[in-house]
Symmetry: C2
Subunit: 187 residues, 2 copies
DNA sequence: GTGAGTGACGACAGGATCTGTCGTCACTCG
DNA sequence: CGAGTGACGACAGATCCTGTCGTCACTCAC
């Protein structure tokens, strides 16, 4: 009864990450990933549109961000709204080692870096749209999303490196650091 | 004497762009591109590492930017140095219709968008490195490159849309627009 | 000139990615 | 208990990309 073991998607993700670490992205085939997950290559493509997507298909994060932005109290600024949404990040990005391994695999593979970039951009665009729906003007939304994305990346980086502070505090610290850098350099 | 017609690379680029416009990126095969250029599929891969690269392999722009940065007069600010480098852009991006068609093809194809994103990022990284070699500190270089890339994108966009002003003026105008937006919104 | 590189190219083979299609098996629900 | 329904395997096939080898035009030293 190898069939219907349940959680096929998760098994594929786990197998893919392990194999990417062992053999690199280019060195592992979709057939290998599927075999390790007790599935066929064809089933892999039922769950993921392509080989890269197995490391990026998680859209729970995005859904959460958008939900928080939607429910944010009126009168809150654009950037604080984003940071409130981002504060929920560690609830989804678990366990931490998974995130670290994933980051290492991406850093080692240009194709995966391409995919990550476009995911970042599309997320940023959705954040802009969500802010506009909340009543902010286009430019404010765009700037907040650009700044917010940078803050988020910085905070996730520190969190993955082992900083155990509350994630909201990490976000606030990253924001402050950016302001410190941008302020004096603006001349 | 179909062989050795000369400029094989250019013929492939031209054929690829035409076919992408006619049939879309996904709808055209490498074999079709090669055939229209009077070459074989194998020769395509001698000139370009993969199918996407046929629209991005031009690194003359990058070489020019880096050369200008290298030769910039001492004492010039980081951002003005970048803008001076960017001013040479239209000498390479010709003819304009080619740029427009290329932009349309990219906008219509997610795979090409991915490639363009990573090209942008790597260019930005090289600009940072070049500025650091010129003596700027890391953060100044990073911020200047980030801002400069945005200005460049904006100016190229307007230029492609038909704005016939001197490109250096387009860059200056884009810079001013960004400052206008960023200033009031900084609160 | 003529023979040894050298580089662009064609021809061929083959592995990997991704898609279409169909039949099967477990599960659900009326 | 029979009709969906969805996950899955099996198979075929187009396309992408790489390795390898032989050929042709050109160059350059002798």
């Amino acid at each position: 009864m190898a069939r219907w073991e349940g959680n096929a998607r998760g098994r594929l993700e786990r197998a893919a990450l392990d194999l990417f670490r062992e053999q690199g992205y280019d060195g592992t085939t979709v057939a290998q990933i599927a075999r390790r997950a007790n599935l066929t290559e064809r089933s892999f493509y039922r769950w993921f549109t392509d080989k890269r997507e197995v490391l990026f298909a998680d859209d729970e994060l995005e859904a959460r961000y958008l939900a928080v932005i939607e429910a944010a109290p009126a009168g809150l600024g654009a950037l604080p709204t984003l940071l409130a949404a981002f504060a929920t990040t560690p609830e989804v990005l678990r366990p931490r080692e998974f995130v670290i391994e994933r980051a290492a695999a991406i850093a080692a593979s240009p194709p995966l870096q391409e995919r990550e970039l476009i995911k970042m951009v599309t997320l940023s665009q959705k954040l802009v749209a969500a802010l506009v729906r909340r009543g902010y003007d286009d430019q404010t939304a765009y700037l907040a999303a650009a700044l917010g994305s940078t803050i988020l990346r910085l905070a996730v980086h520190r969190w993955a490196l082992g900083d155990d502070a509350d994630f909201a505090d990490l976000l606030a610290a990253a924001r402050q650091d950016l302001v410190d850098v941008a302020g004096p350099a603006a001349g």
